[in-house]
Amino acid sequence: MILKKNPLQLAIGLFILLFILWLLSSGHYTTLIISFGVFSCALVVFLSWKMEIIDSEGVPIHLIGGAIRYVPWLIWQIILANIDVTKRVLQPKMDITPQLIEVETSQKTDLGRVIYANSITLTPGTVSIQVHEDRILVHAIAKEVAEELQKGEMDRRVTRMEGLS
């Protein structure tokens, strides 16, 4: 589902986001320096406008609601996967069975697929190699990891997050 939002709204949103980021990383609040900040943020927004990358994909404000539910789960999965891979690496006889698998994707937008593929890569033990329209080629460090991924829990959660928008 691609939200049709007013590009002007998105541009203003981007400007405000950039300016907050600028203020936070600057730490100096005199008129001269803040005017530099306003100028540079405006320049970035103007260039993005000219490059036509201000759309709901470039400024994915609509995903924030879903992300609040998805990210904690993802972090927990990443911690579990880290412990798993750590065990495999530290064993004297390494318990690895590397293999290539393909997982189905059920996301409707490119952005959703990108989030899914990045989540796969961010989880140690699985790396997405190639993203197709309806499936992702994944390299897994072990058979159990691959089977866990093929159950599709992560896929469902990413799709749900995408649908919440």
């Binding site: 100096h28 005199t30 001269l32 320096i33």
Partner: protein, 192 residues
């Protein structure tokens, strides 16, 4: 603590340098050069030369790695063993003398962190105390570069722009032949 860190980082730098010399594979040498510049940036940060470390981030780790890789694409990625021992000897002599001259040049410089160094008496206090009021920029290096010696910086940027345009013009011509490329990317034997 910090002193130990200095020594360790310098040892790392020397180790990487030796590895770069020993390796025949030039691609690996370029990657190690990238690591070298990351290490030296860490060293600059540890020694409180943050602005130099910033430059090292952009120039050393970014641009120069890419330029070297671009050079590899138009040449070979394997170093030819030099059979000529006399040439190698001349090179060694030149390098030794240059190094000796450079080290000699540093002998009458104030030692690292010396509070009595001239720089801490003439220039630095004025920039540190007056530049925030005079220029209005919190970073003194920026005020020196962009205002006190603004014309100089202007010239420098012009030179860099000209150099960049020259390099881009050079690379705009498709000189990479298929054979060269295969050579560059031929992976080594797999392990395992």
């Amino acid at each position: 603590m910090i002193d130990i860190l200095h020594i360790i980082l310098f040892v790392f730098l020397v180790a990487i340098g030796i590895a770069i010399i020993r390796l025949r594979d030039l691609f690996a040498a370029v990657m190690l050069a990238g690591i070298f510049s990351l290490l030296s940036a860490t060293l600059f940060t540890v020694m409180d030369a943050v602005d130099v470390a910033f430059t090292e981030a952009a120039v050393g780790a970014g641009i120069s790695t890419l330029l070297m890789l671009a050079t590899l694409s138009v040449t070979s990625s394997e170093e030819k063993p030099t059979a000529n021992r006399r040439q190698a000897l001349i090179g060694l002599i030149v390098v030794t003398f240059t190094g000796a001259a450079l080290i000699y040049g540093t002998l009458d410089m104030p030692s690292y962190g010396d509070p009595d160094a001239p720089i801490h008496h003439h220039m630095a206090p004025r920039f540190i105390e007056d530049s925030p009021e005079e220029i209005g920029i919190p970073n003194q290096v920026t005020s020196v570069l962009a205002s006190y010696r603004g014309y100089d910086t202007w010239g420098e940027t012009t030179v860099i722009l000209a150099a960049a345009i020259g390099v881009m013009l050079l690379f705009a011509t498709p000189v990479v032949s298929r054979r060269r490329e295969e050579e560059l990317l031929a992976p080594g034997e797999g392990s395992g």
